[in-house]
Every structure is written in C-alpha cells, then in structure tokens.
Symmetry: C2
Subunit: 145 residues, 2 copies
C-alpha cells in the first residue's frame, strides 16, 4: 500500500495494477448487492442477448477504482469524494484488466486531487473511463496504525 501525502503527489503521476475478473467475483458481488439480473449470472441468457458470456456488473469493474485510490494513489490517505464512470465495452469472466490512474489536477486549498481512470482489457480496448475527486487525509501527520 502506498502512503502518498498531498505534497508528494504531482500532476502527471500514474499508478496501475492488473486484475483478472472471475465468475466467482461476480457471484460474490451478487451476494453483497442482491443484483440478480440474469445478464450477469446466466451465460445462456447473456448469449441470447448477443454477449459472449455472462457480463461483469459494471459496478464491479468500477469497484476497482476503490483499490486504485485506497491502495495505489494516494493509497492509505485516500478519501473519495466524487466518482464519474463511463462504461465503454462489456467485461467478461476471464478478462484481465489493466487499471490505471493519472493525476490530472491538484487543489491546494482542499488538499484534493483529480484522478483520471482508464481500464483496458487484454486486447487493449478501453472498457471503462472515469475520474475521481479524492481528498488526501492527514497530510501533515505521521502515519497511524
């Protein structure tokens, strides 16, 4: 986990990580949210709708923005204030996603950063574009815990 302070973060800074989406992840997400929509749970239904396989919940893909902010950039001091998400392509079980964040703005008054988010699948296609406004907590204190 990273522990960047507000002052350590610069415009243009990037962090990225990879995840592999699995059917078990979708099942687990369904267990949390109760979203029983068959597009995400029933491969036969999804194929009849013109998809390759059951489709990952958009909001499970978006959930990796939590990890991007809370673990990578800024890491520990992250407090997400606002999120914008556009879904560009379906994501399927077995897809390996590269999740990247780039700092595009800093606000010294509020100690906030804007992180542009891009997620690409194994073919290099953008599956999600988004942004987050993130406050950096405890900028001038030592690390707790």
């Amino acid at each position: 986990m990273n522990h960047y302070t507000y002052d350590e973060i610069f415009i243009g800074q990037k962090e990225s990580f990879e995840v592999c989406i699995s059917g078990e992840m979708l099942d687990s997400f369904c267990g949390i949210t109760g979203d029983l929509n068959p597009l995400h749970s029933d491969a036969g239904y999804a194929r009849a709708e013109g998809y390759e396989n059951r489709v990952a919940y958009g909001m499970i893909t978006a959930s990796f923005m939590s990890t991007l902010a809370g673990v990578y950039i800024p890491g520990e001091r992250s407090l997400i204030k606002e999120v914008k998400i556009k879904f560009a392509k379906p994501v399927y079980p077995g897809d390996r996603l590269v999740i990247e964040g780039e700092v595009t703005d800093k606000n010294d008054t509020f100690k906030m950063i804007v992180l542009k988010v891009t997620m690409r699948n194994g073919k290099g296609e953008k599956v999600l574009r988004g942004s987050m406004d993130i406050m950096i907590r405890r900028d001038d204190q030592s690390e707790a815990g």
Copy 2:
C-alpha cells in the same frame, strides 16, 4: 425483479429498497477488489481517524446502484451507460440504507433514461447522491429466459 420496457417508464417514476450494511459485506468486497485500506478493515484505525467505526467503502455503497437499476428500475432490461456519484456522509456497519431512484429524463432516440439516485441512512441523512444514464434493452421484444 421488474421488467419495465422503455415505454412503460415515465418521468417521476420512483423505486426504492432497503439494505443493511454489515462488516461481512465489507470483508467480501475487500476479497473481490483487494482494497486493503485500513479505514475499511480496522475499527481502531478508523476511530483514531475520527470515525465511529470502520467505514464502508464508498464503492460498496455505490454498488447498490447496480441493484437499483438491474432489479428495480428498469430491472431486467437495464444496461448502465454512465454513473455519477457524490459521497456525502460516511456509512458504517449496521447502517440501514434506503436506496431510491427517480426517473428524471427520457431520451426516445436512444431509449435511455436518467435515474437520480439518493441513499439515506437510518437518521434520514443523505449518504450518497448520484445519477445513472441507463439504456433499456429489448424494448420491443418479449422477455427471454
């Protein structure tokens, strides 16, 4: 699960449901996303940061927008295109949330609706405000599956 078609949906239409946030949900979300930020997993750390308890991931609260669209409104035919989220108050394990969606716009050309989303805790305080642009699939076909 609802199965509203585009034509059946009207501006002003509302749907809502309730969920109780649990520590197990946060653990499960961490298992999916790998977001190990201690604000969400370590009650002692969170209290030292000024919170009542471990704080629910913003993106887990936001994930109930998936259920709102995919189960309630429009239900089965939902295809979320775009999401905007503002986090207003922390959510804690044990909080009971009322999640409400209201149709604020319809686009006949693209068969899309705009859903305004509000989530309130047991004290009636808004914890999340947001909106979703949702396409309605298969408007003129019979239900599959």
